[in-house]
């Protein structure tokens, strides 16, 4: 049983990165005086951040954004960073950071954000060098970011205690980014280094007020899971429950929490209570890795409770489930290989998260039934995110075509260079979309193949477990006779 916990503890410590967004609090643009930057801010507020950056790039090229060129360059850098264009973003941050004529606060924030990029790209030494350029212009929140970058760099340099010491005790002024880094550091310390201070750091996250912030609530769930499973690993069942039961019940993370709650009672030999959680997990309509685990855990618990008939029945249920799903996965793989996945993805809302919710009830075809299993995979999630970003870019590029035509009408001339540029871009985006779709399809098929292999092992375990129970039941009857 302990080996099972050690497996699951690994699952609880995934390094997380926040959704990259331009943090408006980094720099206050409310005192903007130049019309170029002001106009760009308006375009961005209207939802066209690319037009905003294009406007500023044009002005930057001409030098017409003065006297706020540094604020403009910082804005360009922020937007490029939010779009994942890290090399160009870094170039603009450094341009601001190295400009002796820029305001000190802006230069310091540019160094700080550049350090974040270095940190996120795993260049901890480069991040530290960038931090050393910061003078005194950081807000309390930014100081929190500074501390977390430094703590990670110290850990990467093999100085765990110094890393722990660098983590701010006060969460009050921490940015969301810093909270993610806090989670990652706590996870690294606890998961990889078995350092008890990792638990203390994660504990601070389990106490944050996340009522008005879904992303923070998810981070808090993740911290509670990590703490819960780390305690299960050392058989501190009651303490583990205090964290696991805080995980919100209405999201996919709750599957893992339910499984853990069951294990916490199983450790205490309270198999009836363990079954309460596992049966709930097993009865959930959506497929889940943890549901398969529960399918094995339930008959095990019935067996431990000497309810042999129920144990055998649930082993049979598990066998049917494993066999049935393994076979159904073949049909799903065939569907995914044709147009199934594209229809599934493209038929959903463009909203960043709504599509996930929109998918869940649509479990009617082979590929949709197993969709939650795909969504358990970070690789699939990331690939899907990239695919959807490409689709959005495709729509944006398509809209530029209309603008070129409108320009031609106004100018009473043709613009062949713009059309050529547009066509080339359209072709490249289309190729990238098709390639990404193929990647997604292959990922989905690979995931199903992995599950099929896993279900094959589960089948063996279930058969072996059932044989043991039958033997025990027979011995029990023999003993009674």
């Amino acid at each position: 049983m302990k080996s099972r916990h050690s497996l699951l503890i690994g699952t609880a410590f995934g390094a997380l990165l926040p959704l990259l967004t331009v943090n408006a609090a980094e720099v206050d643009y409310s005192n903007t005086t130049t019309t170029t930057l002001g106009h760009a801010l308006h375009l961005a507020a209207d939802g066209d951040d690319l037009a905003a950056v294009a406007t500023l790039l044009m002005a930057d090229k001409k030098g017409s954004a003065e006297p706020e060129s540094d604020a403009s360059r910082f804005y360009i850098a922020e937007t490029l960073r939010s779009r994942g264009v890290m090399d160009e973003a870094s170039r603009y941050y450094l341009a601001v950071a190295n400009d002796a004529g820029a305001k000190q606060h802006l230069r310091d924030v540019a160094w700080l954000t550049y350090a974040k990029i270095r940190h996120e790209q795993g260049d901890h030494a480069g991040a530290l060098v960038a931090l050393q350029n910061i003078k005194k212009g950081l807000s309390d929140t930014q100081k929190g970011d500074f501390a977390m970058i430094k703590a990670h760099a110290l850990l990467a340099a093999g100085k765990p205690q110094e890393a722990v010491d660098a983590v701010p005790g006060n969460l009050k002024h921490g940015s969301q980014w810093a909270l993610y880094q806090r989670y990652n550091l706590g996870g690294l310390l606890l998961g990889e280094q078995n350092n008890k201070f990792g638990a203390a750091i994660l504990h601070t996250l389990s106490e944050i007020d996340s009522r008005k912030n879904p992303e923070l609530a998810a981070l808090k769930d993740q911290a509670n899971l990590a703490l819960g499973y780390s305690l299960l690993k050392i058989s501190k069942a009651s303490k583990a429950r205090s964290y696991l039961q805080q995980v919100r019940i209405n999201n996919l993370l709750s599957n893992m929490a339910l499984l853990g709650m069951g294990w916490s009672y199983a450790i205490e030999q309270n198999h009836e209570k363990a079954l309460v959680y596992w049966l709930e997990l097993e009865g959930r309509p959506l497929k889940s890795t943890y549901q398969y685990e529960a399918s094995l855990a339930i008959p095990y618990a019935f067996g431990q409770a000497r309810a042999f008939n129920q144990s055998i029945n649930y082993y049979k249920t598990a066998l049917n489930r494993f066999e049935g799903d393994a076979a159904a996965m073949n049909a799903a793989k065939n569907a995914l290989g044709s147009t199934g996945l594209a229809a599934l993805i493209n038929g959903n809302s463009s909203d960043e998260f709504a599509w996930i919710n929109g998918w869940q009830p649509a479990a009617s075809t082979p590929e949709t039934v197993f969709l939650p299993l795909f969504m358990d995979s970070p690789n699939f999630q990331q690939a899907l995110k990239s695919y959807r970003t490409l689709l959005a870019l495709n729509n944006y590029v398509a809209s530029i075509k209309g603008e070129i035509v409108a320009y031609e009408t106004r100018s009473n001339s043709t613009a062949p260079e713009l059309h050529q540029q547009h066509q080339q871009l359209t072709d490249n985006v289309d190729r990238a979309i098709q390639a990404q779709l193929a990647t997604l399809q292959q990922l989905a098929i690979d995931i199903l193949t992995s599950y099929q292999n896993q279900l094959g092992q589960y089948l063996q375990q279930a058969r072996f477990g059932m044989a043991q129970i039958i033997e025990q039941a027979t011995q029990n009857r023999g003993g009674k006779q």
Binding site: G14, P18, T35, A54, M256, Y300, D376, A432, S450
Partner: protein, 176 residues
């Protein structure tokens, strides 16, 4: 019985959260593609904007008007009308969201057109919201020289009056 390694127990990632470092490593090609395509899109957009600007500046004399606000309560800005030389050229309704955006440093490019050199009047009429039906009109007289002028109109209410004050800033020869 539970000792079998389950590599497929991929760790759960909250759907409200994003990437894992492992996931990033897997998709670096895609990120590179996205990054390059984003840059190419920006280059196209920039080139189109440059072409439009060159077209606009073929007119020897132009006027571009920008609107921004300075800590202005949304109730004081519902509708704005602009007349140039007593000819209505703009009528714009502001949403509460847009009013808030203007308070945060954004400027709305509300009017851009050729104009002759010489003296002109620009009249701004502001209507408050339904709960504040005040209407105010302010006229700015400007001397238009040759080139591309910008007129920045800042709407503010430093004295907490029923109607806002307007501040005009003309910049001669500045490209829009």
């Amino acid at each position: 019985m539970f000792a079998v390694v389950t590599k497929q127990l991929v760790f759960v990632l909250s759907l409200a959260l994003w990437l894992t470092t492992a996931a990033q490593a897997e998709s670096s090609d895609t990120r590179l593609d996205l990054s390059e395509l984003t840059k190419a899109t920006l280059a196209l957009k920039r080139d189109l904007l440059s072409a439009e600007e060159r077209l606009f500046q073929q007119n020897p004399n132009t006027l571009t008007i920008f609107i921004n606000t300075d800590n202005l309560p949304a109730r004081l800005l519902n509708e704005l009308e602009i007349s140039v030389d007593n000819r209505a050229v703009v009528q714009h309704m502001f949403t509460a969201q847009e009013a808030q955006t203007l308070n945060s440093g954004a400027m709305k490019k509300i009017y851009a057109a050729p104009i002759t050199t010489g003296t002109h009047t620009v009249t701004i009429v502001i209507n408050g919201s339904t709960t504040n039906r005040e209407r105010s009109a302010t006229t700015f007289t400007m001397a238009k020289g040759a080139g591309h002028d910008t007129l920045k109109v800042t709407i503010a209410n430093p004295l907490q009056k029923r109607t806002p004050d307007l501040f005009f800033e003309q910049q001669a020869g500045v490209a829009p």
